[in-house]
Amino acid sequence: MGFSMRKIDYCQALNEALHQEMAKNPDIFVFGIGVPDHKSVFGSTRGLLETFGPDRCFDTPLCEDSMTGFALGAALGGMRPVHIHIRVDFLLLAMNQIVNMIASYNYSLGGKVKLPIVIRTIIGRGWGQGMHHSKSLQSYFAHIPGLKVVMPTTPRDAKGLLTAALRDNNPVIFIEHRWLYWAENDVPEGEFLIPLGQGNILREGTDLTIVATSWMNVEALRAADLLAKQGVYVEVVDPRTIAPLDEALILRSVEKTGHCLVADNDWVECGFSAEVAARVAEKCFGRLKSPVRRLGFAHTPCPTVRCLEDEFYPNAKRIVAVIHEMLGLPPIDLSGEFSYSHESRFKGPF
């Protein structure tokens, strides 16, 4: 028990956090479209219906906006709702309740009430997810005062951050990545939490800082491996929570390396990568040895066909190429190196 480790995947980690917290706190309930069905949101809600019953794990009609308002009302009534969406894109149907109501509700009540609302949602990718099943939108939410925004990368973070979100007394948008569901690593068995607002150094390095979000951390780590073969050591900083942001961790790293690349799992324009670049420019401009660079989705809707999708998403090789430019190194031939794809295990409607 306690902190004994064993390897589980990201999805099991999410599931375990829900089981442990729901067992402890009877006010927590999970709901959303398809949440208790046989697919159990890719397995992340598995066993909740059987363990906690239909009052605490239930399906809803297809009305994201109203069920988001429902979550707000339930929180006002002393409950701790967890509203689950199988794609981030579907949250756009709930933006009025999220942005106009939930985000400012406590302010309108003088900051006196607890609003423990967790909105779990999943970024899709691959096998033609296309323009309506592939959005991330972290900067949409992080732009709004009153919301916390979390994007776990590792299984350990998935469990620790979800536990923290479930215990927080404020609204949290919890953005998962479908491809990370299979990531497997050491996760403590017992309850533990990772405070919201605390980033993580995924890999230490001295030559350049990559600030990456969600899946882009996987690409950044792969790029770091490729670069290490050339004797270039990059540091990979995962903010883990977009809001509140662990700015100090990012600045410390950039002060050390003097170079900063932001690899965001989202569009670049007016996005989180711009926020990080601005803060680095504002607060450690004098330590920069090269301009801050950014990588993210191409500024197009996400195409369905694979060859265009490959162009749409940045990958480890693109990261390496940009870093070569930043450091003034000659390009190297990466044609023999693999690129990540979960196409072989990720077939079908989702």
Partner: protein
Amino acid sequence: MSYPGLELYKKLYLARRCEEYIVKYYPQNDMKTPMHMSMGQEAVAVGVCHAVGSTGLVLATYRSHAAFLAHTQNVPLFFSELYGRVNGLANGKSGSMHLADPDHGHWGSSGIVASTIPIALGLAFAQKRKNTGATTVVFFGDGAIDEGSFWESINVAALMKLPVLFVCEDNGYAVHTPSKKRHGYDSIVDIVGQFRCATFSDDSNDVESICNMTQQALSIIQAGGGPVFLHIKCYRYLEHVGINDDMKDAYRPVEIQEAWLKKDCLVLQRLRLINEQGVEEIVIQQLEEQVETSIHHSIVAAKQYSSPDPSQLFHGVFYEEN
């Protein structure tokens, strides 16, 4: 108070006079908040809130002075909030459009049409889960029934048998657009009645009728019969937003206004007290003076408070432990 009708009259009078004071003092430019006045529609809020009682949980709209006052009777903090004073309900951050007073069962108002309707679902769900027996009441205008979230919410409430009282205050206009230019149907009650949701209608403007009808609705909800929808016709005396009469703009027929003025809810109830319930005029006058004094004191007291300190700006975005 031994006459039940007198308490209803007192609440009507309170709501009306508070707004008449707003009309009087608003031009001094010290209440810097857009006013969507309830004047003329008070019978709905007073009749419903009186029936629901202090244990009821209320959600309202930006046109919610009457509902706020009828449910909380918190006149001092009402004016402190409108004047933007530090002791206001939300230290002046909310103003007229976001009135709330959770300590008195008022859980908020919204500047976005229909947006508190779904909140009522969750609040009612929590009451059911926690077995409090409390009923959640949500007020909204006829403009709100054009919004998708109204239809989503009626469906969810009926499906989940939630203890919610939906109160449609139908003043016939969404801002300046009459319902006949907005509705591809004739009767909202007929449509809502197709859901597993009981419906009641009223166009009397009579606070006692509305109160009695609400009591019937509450008995259905409290017996576990699920949500109830009240459709109550009413008439807004003033402009959509602001303190002025806008009949000069000629978008509302004068004859309709005259018909509603003839059945002004305060006039109806005052006459009933005297003619049917044997209340002496002097008793009513004393009550009116009492209300008058309390409003006057509240306004004087509110103005003595300061505005919030600039450092207040950052407080309350997130929950703060006391």
